[in-house]
């Protein structure tokens, strides 16, 4: 667990699946912190799948889109898939707006577990 500014996340690595739980606000200021921590873990663990869990994210702007696209490229480099989970309706709107979903082949489907979290999203790399 790491806490700096309003940002915290932890990483789970089992069966080659790395899950990064992002929480707090994702803007240009905090994106750098997320980026550094995720990339460090990616290079250390070289998982076959990376999941970014956004269920704890209260705010995100286009810096978050850049963060996702950048991690997609990192994942591709090491041959890992990327899945986005816990996206709120608002975050989905931002992803759709940016066309990142089309660019990356994101699949948006309804989450059944929690009402306030709408989507489980998979990016096929």
């Amino acid at each position: 667990m790491l806490t700096r500014d309003h940002v915290s996340f932890d990483l789970e690595n089992g069966e080659g699946i790395l899950t990064a739980r992002l929480s707090g606000e994702i803007d240009h200021h905090t994106a750098r912190i997320f980026r550094e921590e995720i990339d460090r873990a990616l290079l250390r663990e070289t998982p076959r799948a990376l999941t970014l869990d956004f269920s704890g994210v209260g705010f995100m702007d286009s810096s978050g889109i850049g963060l996702i696209v950048g991690r997609l490229e990192m994942a591709r480099e090491i041959g890992a898939t990327l899945t986005l989970s816990g996206l709120s309706q608002r975050l989905c709107r931002l992803l759709e707006l940016s066309g990142v979903d089309r660019l990356c082949g994101i699949v948006i489907s309804k989450s059944t577990e929690r009402e306030d979290l709408f989507h489980e999203t998979e990016i096929r790399t």
Partner: protein, 146 residues
């Protein structure tokens, strides 16, 4: 959408162009608009649009390591239209129409998506961009609260 009437409230402030002030600007605009009771979506839209404009001033206007001031202003009109201004005295934009295109970015780090202007456009009712190379950029956004 030029307002003939006087604003019923206004504010303006100056902040150092450092990234920590992106969240500070979102908080300021949130507090300023609170008495108007905007909906959660309206507030989130406005905060996101402000965040985009302020980030652009810091990242592109001044650039990393450069000193500068970001000017944030807001006015509320009797018809509940909010006008927000974000201004920098940075390097300015050569081709505004090009800069406003979705996915257009001059960033080379691979960490920017070129979606800032598109976000500002879709989360507000109207976006005006005034800029002069070498002089700076002024972003004006309008949004009418329900």
């Amino acid at each position: 959408m030029r307002r003939k009437s006087e604003p019923k409230n206004h504010m303006s402030c100056e902040l150092r162009a450092v990234s920590v002030n992106e969240s500070v600007c979102r908080a300021i605009i949130g507090v300023f608009l609170a008495p108007e009771n905007p909906t959660a979506t309206e507030l989130a839209d406005i905060k996101c649009a402000v965040s985009e404009a302020v980030t652009n001033a810091i990242v592109h206007g001044y650039g990393a390591g450069n000193e500068g001031i970001v000017y944030l202003g807001a006015e509320i009109y009797p018809d509940r239209t909010v006008r927000i201004t974000v201004r920098d005295k940075g390097k300015g934009i050569e081709d505004i129409a090009l800069a406003r295109r979705p996915l257009y970015t001059t960033d080379t780090s691979g960490e920017r998506s070129g979606m800032g202007f598109s976000v500002m456009e879709s989360f507000t009712d109207r976006l005006r961009v005034l800029s002069r190379p070498g002089a700076g950029t002024r972003i004006t956004m309008y949004k009418r609260l329900s």
